[in-house]
Symmetry: C2
């Protein structure tokens, strides 16, 4: 099952800047990482979007027809457009022609396509979307899950998120001893809503989760947690809020810094330092979301992804493949992957 070199199916048609930026990111990944790339989409559009066509020679193009648009309802659109790029991408994994999928398209559609084509891992009730955030510490990130797949969660779902997050943190993000927290409104075990109180108990007792306690909103980006679990409602609100805050702050900097003559001079002098600040604040620099719990590896990149984000997403997918995260999650449940449902 494991190829010597990770084979990544890249949905070339999904995202605001598809196919040009997706293809550019894939070409860079092929050049710099030890991966095979399968570009999934309309061959003509892919070629038209590539300034130097010879750059495509090392990549395999797999034809697909159309894509799921952002306004479409995922399930019906996936059924109607059977040859859409995200469906074809997931099928490549199902048929073991690829090891992972990277898509910047409709995230709900990617999630649904993965569930329909690949099925869930045994022991996992609900797959989750994990997102990697920068923290206030320059060299440290935090994995937050779920950021949007499950808006109403039972306690055992969050327990499973913690198990999956632990495995990913260790084996994809390279944290030897990850610290896992539960997003909550206070430090004490008794704090929070009904679900949070129950999850706190489940995680405290869990042998495979290095649970260190509740993480309040202020702790999320402090760098003291490597994994933070929450339901997909609050996680999604937080994800979008964090992205917007980063952008807002950069906008305020752009407005206020160059004010006046001194401002213009100072801003010019600080150009390089400001670029580094943008990199640390800007969420887009920090790669994609992970779809955890389906029987395949899928990285869901932000819809606004440009080549650097696509490159980062492919690298994340490669790490997940190379470090056999699916097998490791599965090992936690002492069972084998459930066969995928057929098509729907």
């Amino acid at each position: 099952m494991v190829a010597t070199r990770a084979r990544i199916a890249v949905d070339a048609m999904g995202g605001d800047h598809a196919p040009a930026e997706i293809v550019a990111g894939a070409i860079r990944a092929k050049a710099e990482l030890d991966v095979d790339i399968l570009l999934v989409g309309d061959p003509d559009q892919i070629r038209a979007a590539t300034p130097n066509e010879e750059n495509l020679s090392d990549l395999k193009i797999v034809p697909a027809e159309g894509t799921i648009e952002m306004h479409e309802e995922p399930l019906s659109a996936l059924r109607r457009k059977r040859k859409a790029s995200i469906n074809v991408s997931m099928d490549l994994v199902k048929q073991q022609e690829a090891d992972a999928v990277v898509s910047a398209g409709h995230s709900g559609a990617a999630m649904a396509a993965a569930l329909l084509r690949l099925g869930r891992l045994k022991g996992i009730d609900r797959p989750a979307i994990g997102a990697v955030f920068p923290t206030v510490l320059a060299d440290k990130s935090v994995l937050i899950l779920d950021v949007g797949a499950n808006v109403d969660c039972r306690p055992k779902f969050l327990e499973q998120f913690a198990v999956m997050g632990t495995v990913y943190s260790k084996h994809v993000l390279g944290i030897e001893h990850p610290k896992v927290g539960l997003l909550n409104i206070g430090e004490e075990a008794s704090k929070g809503n009904d679900v949070a109180v129950q999850v706190h108990q489940l995680l405290t007792d869990h042998p495979a989760v290095p649970f260190v306690g509740n993480a309040e909103g202020r702790d999320v980006l402090s760098g003291q947690f490597d994994v933070v679990v929450c339901d997909g409602f609050v996680g999604n609100v937080l994800l979008k809020f964090a992205e917007a805050v980063g952008e807002s702050v950069l906008q305020i900097l752009r407005e206020e810094l160059p004010r006046g003559l001194r401002g213009k001079a100072g801003t010019l002098i600080l150009k390089d330092n400001l670029k580094r600040i943008k990199q640390r604040v800007d969420h887009a620099e920090h790669g994609g979301g992970l779809l955890l719990g389906v029987a395949g590896i899928a990285v869901i990149s932000h819809g606004s992804s440009q080549a650097p984000s696509v490159f980062n997403a492919i690298r994340l997918a490669k790490e997940a493949v190379d470090n056999q995260v699916l097998d490791r999650i599965q090992a936690q449940y002492h069972k084998v992957a459930m066969p995928a449902a057929d098509g729907e």
Copy 2:
């Protein structure tokens, strides 16, 4: 019932910097705003914390004994310490000797003391804590509620938050036509968890709520909403996250801007512009939380409040008194304020 000049009971003993910073903020408020101040706390400590004692001559000191510490369980501590500053402050409102309370102490204790001493407004099932956030637009704020009082909410609680938020936005924050949003994970009415879907319907139908639709995480600080309602779990996570993000960004600026010789020179030149950025980003500059739905006006300031925040909180309380927000909320429910429960 309405005095000609708002009388604000200020809990001088609550908060990390009590009593010195609380007293300093109160003295400034007395000097600059048209209010009467009742400083509640240990008279000796209040005097000892005031560099120029003659500044206290225009304020009334109301003796109290002790305060509720941050680690104490609110209900039992409030019962044990009957003369604690927050209890005495609420009693002043109950006995109509003050019109509002301002406290930077234990927020759970302030909430509980208000409920026990003042009771709820008729028609309100659960009081909420509202917080005013800066938005990306320089002259625009957004009121978010609930930010922590109610972690498990039924749909009608959020409907009431929207009614109260509308009244406060109009009559305290001065927004003639407030736009009210529901915090959610997508724009469509069908999005979100079970509670959110039901609340969306309730608000769409509500005659007294200018509901404009769902607010996603990214919309909260965009300036397109004046009021955003949510349950106290997600609201509290968001509040603490936002505070921390503001601090984190300022910290990254402090680390990265002065790097190297050019960095140091540029940062020096930009000193004034950076101060303005700090003011726009820093949540602490933007005043306190409002306790909405109890039969009295209470402003809960951040525990780390220093004199400027205390001053802002007093101004907020004064605005609420002068603009008769309790009567206006009550008018929405066509009933009169419920008499307070006696003591407990």
